[in-house]
Symmetry: C2
Subunit: 156 residues, 2 copies
DNA sequence: ACCTCTGAGTTTGGATTGCAGACCCAGATG
DNA sequence: CATCTGGGTCTGCAATCCAAACTCAGAGGT
């Protein structure tokens, strides 16, 4: 039983990619994290086609990453906002990991464009790999992949 | 100057998504991590169309995430393998973050399908957010985003 | 010399998806 | 009653995806 004997699509990475495996989905989630919540604001900032944005938002809502909430300001007509659910907010680790990689490997002349920091202490935040014994996992550290009960073999 | 005043595409997440923001690119990288390195093996395991695989591999090579290496087994004709470069291997944090999310939010009846662990100590590995002062960043911890010299304002 | 097999793609034609821009609808506002 | 605006839908065309067929070169068999 080697890795390739297991079903590619029942892997957790594949399942997450099912939701997030699209340029726009990633960027929409990023903007939701950063407080861009209204349809037109997303359309404007991302430069995404309106119908595609509609579909991506529907996907995120359907997958439980975001919710469409009516926002009632008195004296104004009801607006709508898309807000991340707890499941959506759990993607922060992914976002920071993507950002770290871009900072290291795709920064321009002037270095990285943004810094995310811990509000309480001001220190920059990064994504790390750590094992449950507390050892830091470096890029060269050897790891092992083992199947669990949830694993599925490929059919035929 | 708020987030939406900055150019969406010059963000590090956008730049990483430029490379990895496609379902197949993510899965190809995942399989390269797991030792699936030959064209036909990738085609077979992923179920990806052959021409799309050709394009994705060309993308990964062009972006410096992978290299196409001839593998000469004596007495056999030369084969080729795609191998992750150091830049490609740096995506491990992203992969584990994606896997963690899938494990938590998309596991089936029987729980997660795979476990990645530290070979030296056997303990499972997870992606964490940590600030440079060493504080663990929980999903609810407040963070702050600040522009750096590399930031670009939107043109018009 | 000829045939076959295999790895690694390339080509082809039809089905999807993406895009920009035009259009639509309902609730304020003048 | 006409207009404006948020939040979409519709349309026509371009790019991408897909499965399956085709290509090509090097090894082996006969």
């Amino acid at each position: 039983m080697t890795w390739s004997d297991y079903d590619s699509t029942s892997c957790s990475i594949a399942r997450t990619a099912q939701v997030l495996g699209d340029r726009w989905a990633v960027l929409v989630v990023r903007d939701l994290f950063n407080g861009v919540r209204r349809f037109d604001a997303l359309h404007d900032h991302l430069g995404i086609a309106r119908d595609v944005l509609t579909k991506r938002l529907a996907l995120l809502v359907g997958e439980g990453l975001a919710e469409r909430q009516p926002v009632a300001v008195p004296g104004e007509r009801t607006r709508h906002e898309y807000v991340l659910t707890p499941a959506g907010r759990d993607l922060r680790v992914v976002m920071v990991a993507l950002m770290d990689w871009g900072d290291h490997h795709r920064a321009g002349q002037d270095g990285p464009p943004m810094r995310i920091s811990h509000r309480d202490c001001g220190a920059p935040i990064h994504a790390h790999l750590v094992c449950d014994e507390g050892h830091e996992i470096e890029p060269t550290t050897r790891t092992e992949l083992a199947p669990l009960p949830g694993a599925r073999l490929r059919s035929a």
